[in-house]
Symmetry: C2
Subunit: 141 residues, 2 copies
């Protein structure tokens, strides 16, 4: 059994974040020592590491909770996982596209900017009236 510090080291999850996950019910409450300290089994540490890796892949907590419940009852889990992963891939691709369009827009706006110029052409055109609004749908980065 390991204290929260060791569990943090081994799982790569910040101590505060481990307690947060416990509060939110992402991972089950661990046992406690006589003095009231959390004690983690290797299995519980593996779960924390799993959550961390999923977060690194960009999955939201809600999906990770689904993953965790699927690993408990391990019948027919793979199809669901595949769907969830594919949806997440679509989101990642959408974000990449958005950011790429953003980059182009920003590049063309700032291209005329230079050290000496007094009235900045980028700021100017951003302040101008509504010609070519061209709003991104609801891309929030």
């Amino acid at each position: 059994m390991f204290t929260i510090g060791k569990a943090s080291e081994q799982s790569g999850v910040n101590i505060e974040t481990i307690r947060y996950y416990e509060r939110e019910g992402v991972v089950p409450k661990p046992g406690r020592s006589a003095g009231g300290r959390r004690l983690y089994s290797p299995d519980e540490i593996a779960k924390l590491r799993f959550v961390r890796r999923c977060r690194d892949l960009g999955f939201p907590i809600s999906i990770i909770q689904t993953f965790l419940s699927l690993t408990e009852q391990d019948d027919r889990s793979c199809g669901e996982v595949k769907t969830l992963a594919e949806n997440h891939l679509d989101e990642i691709n959408a974000k990449i596209e958005n950011l790429t369009r953003l980059r182009e827009a920003l590049l063309s706006l700032s291209s005329n900017c230079d050290e000496g110029t007094a009235a900045c052409p980028m700021l100017d055109s951003l302040m101008k009236d509504g010609l070519g609004e061209n709003r991104p749908e609801q891309a929030r980065h």
Copy 2:
């Protein structure tokens, strides 16, 4: 002069967001009607539109505030704008790279997933011990 509803329409900024920007000091407090309603001049609406466009480009509020103060005192603004825009471009590029790496990782993990499989290979390898940790630095999406 325009009420907040019209200002919202013309600027593309949500009503609640306009009030939020006012509270936070992003835009100056507008005048009020006899009955206590906010009244916006075309200039103030242009400012709101400017903020919205900068947000669409992914700039954080703090940078947008710098932009706004630069448009007030319009001496030598362009060099600073250029630097800020370039830094932001770097961040966008870093995000794109991160997401691209994420996509590759997720693709290779989920490639062996399929409808029939019982023990999911993706979940399995995410749960496994620390071989090839390969942590992204601090990419949070």
